[in-house]
């Protein structure tokens, strides 16, 4: 439930720094999402560098998509030199 006018912070100030992280930008993703084929991925990290939303999570030897924040812009898929990232319709499922 969203806050009432009595509950919102004073003049809409944000009193907790860095809370943009909890803002779910993934819920207004365009109707496609990037999916990684881990077998093709060479861990070159170009997707991690190019993602404008920091929605590529770098893990031990592999990358993962953070769908909570990913807006589906497709830049990672465009930049991936080994064709490991493909944009797929949201309708298709995982």
């Amino acid at each position: 439930m969203l806050e009432t006018w009595e509950e919102v912070t004073f003049a809409g100030y944000i009193l907790e720094p860095g809370n943009a992280e909890s803002y779910k930008t993934g819920d207004w993703r365009s109707r496609q999402k990037p999916v990684i084929n881990q077998e093709k991925c060479t861990f070159c990290l170009l997707c991690w560098i190019y993602c404008p939303d920091g929605a590529i999570i770098r893990k031990e030897g592999e990358v993962e998509i953070d769908y909570y924040h990913c807006k589906g812009c497709g830049i990672c898929a465009y930049e991936c030199p080994s064709g490991a990232i493909r944009m797929r319709s949201e309708m298709e499922g995982e």
């Binding site: 969203l2 009432t4 006018w5 919102v8 004073f10």
Partner: protein, 401 residues
């Protein structure tokens, strides 16, 4: 009590003297036309070491307000002054200041807006800025300018208010007219106005974000919160006014009544023109006519309850605006507001508007006598033919100069 000092000050100097005693941390102002003497005096005070403030001479009024917003967000006591076109250029930032709930104080010497080019007095500037979320106080003379500049800081910074305040006085008629002003001692001002206690100052140790995006899911709640704060501020303003009156022997109100006992018709005025209108009321009273006057000090927030109380029982009210709200139904904003405020009142008086003294046109006692004649006629006929009539203008449909 020791007699207080009386200084010969014009309205601008009275504002500057009061601001000096209120010890602002930052003064940001555009230094040339349409600026008035206020910041000239303040820059003297700073240069002479009488006032320890950061004086920022900015390149425009938009920047002046922006600098005040930044300073105030840091927790500083910030002040600026402007007039006419200068206020118009600030317009965008006025909303930002009030929406951030920053207690900035600004003096405005009321002047007409171009075109034709005119630097003289009317209230086109601040009346046009009436929906910017600022508290607006209108003053009749230098003494009031002095007293209400000090109160403005106290009102703005009160934690129950936290809104910017415009302290208005008429250009030239007040801003450049020298009068005796009884000033308080520095100690008295200090005791009335403690240093600012900011609520959420910008601080790297305790970061806050001010002015973030307000998506449609949040914007209305944030704006309604501001509206409630603005409306509620009237109670705090009254309380502070009472304290000022009691501490320093003044008798101000948010709506002031003059010879309203037994009055059937009344003028409702704002600003310096009230003095001239009171003369006319005295003349009419001497002839036995049942005439009184109400002076509105506070325009934002609009003192609905006080006004309804003061106007109840009257047959006719003549509202004297100092500008034209072009194409509106009632001539000027004050008339619109007064009529709207009275609409749901039983036995409400007839209300007629008189936009007066545009662009510095001199309005004298005889003009007010003509207005009062009109009001008495309406009272007799118990009917209003026109919603408003411009006073001090040649040609048909107007009350001539």
């Amino acid at each position: 009590m020791m007699a207080r000092k009386v200084l010969a000050l014009n309205g601008d100097e009275a504002a500057a003297y009061a601001v000096k005693q209120c010890k602002p941390d930052v003064i940001a102002a555009y230094p040339i036309t349409p600026q008035t003497i206020i910041v000239e005096r303040l820059s003297d005070f700073v240069a002479d070491g009488e006032l320890d403030a950061e004086f920022i001479a900015v390149e425009s009024e938009h920047s002046a307000m922006s600098a005040c917003i930044g300073a105030s967000a840091m927790g500083a006591r910030a002040y600026t002054a402007t007039a006419s076109q200068g206020l118009a250029l600030m317009y965008e930032m006025l909303f930002v200041a009030s929406s951030f709930r920053l207690p900035i104080v600004m003096s405005v010497a009321n002047r007409a807006l171009n075109s034709p080019l005119n630097i003289w007095n009317d209230m086109s500037d601040t009346m046009g800025a009436r929906d910017c979320g600022w508290i607006q106080i209108y003053n009749e003379n230098s003494q009031e300018v002095y007293d209400f500049t000090i109160q403005a800081f106290r009102i703005a910074e009160d934690h129950r208010v936290l809104l910017p305040v415009m302290v208005c006085h008429d250009g030239f008629v007040v801003s450049h007219s020298t009068e005796g002003v009884e000033v308080l001692s520095d100690g008295e001002v200090d005791s009335f106005l403690p240093p600012r206690d900011p609520v959420y100052p910008l601080d790297v140790e305790k970061p806050v974000t001010i002015g973030c995006v307000g998506v449609p899911e949040y914007y209305p709640e944030i704006k309604y919160q501001q509206e409630v704060a603005t409306k509620k501020s009237i109670e705090t303003i009254k309380e502070i006014l009472r304290e000022f009156n009691e501490s320093f022997g003044r008798s101000y109100g948010i709506v002031e009544e003059y010879r309203t006992d037994g009055a059937e018709v009344a003028l409702l005025t704002i600003g310096s023109i009230s003095g001239t209108a009171k003369e006319a009321v005295d003349e009419m009273r001497a002839e036995g006519k049942p005439v009184g006057l109400l002076k509105l000090r506070l325009f934002r927030p609009f003192p609905i309850e006080a006004l309804r109380k003061s106007l109840s029982g009257l047959k006719v009210v003549g509202v004297v605006d100092r500008h034209i709200s072009f194409g509106s139904c009632m001539g000027g904003a004050l008339n619109m507001e007064v009529r709207a405020a009275l609409y749901e009142m039983k036995d409400r008086p007839h209300v007629m508007g008189f936009p007066t003294g545009l662009g510095g046109r001199d309005i004298r006692v005889e003009h007010f006598l003509k207005i009062i004649d009109e009001l008495l006629m309406i009272a007799e006929q118990d009917a209003l033919e026109e919603e408003y009539k411009v006073v001090g203008c040649r040609g048909p449909g107007c009350i001539g100069p």
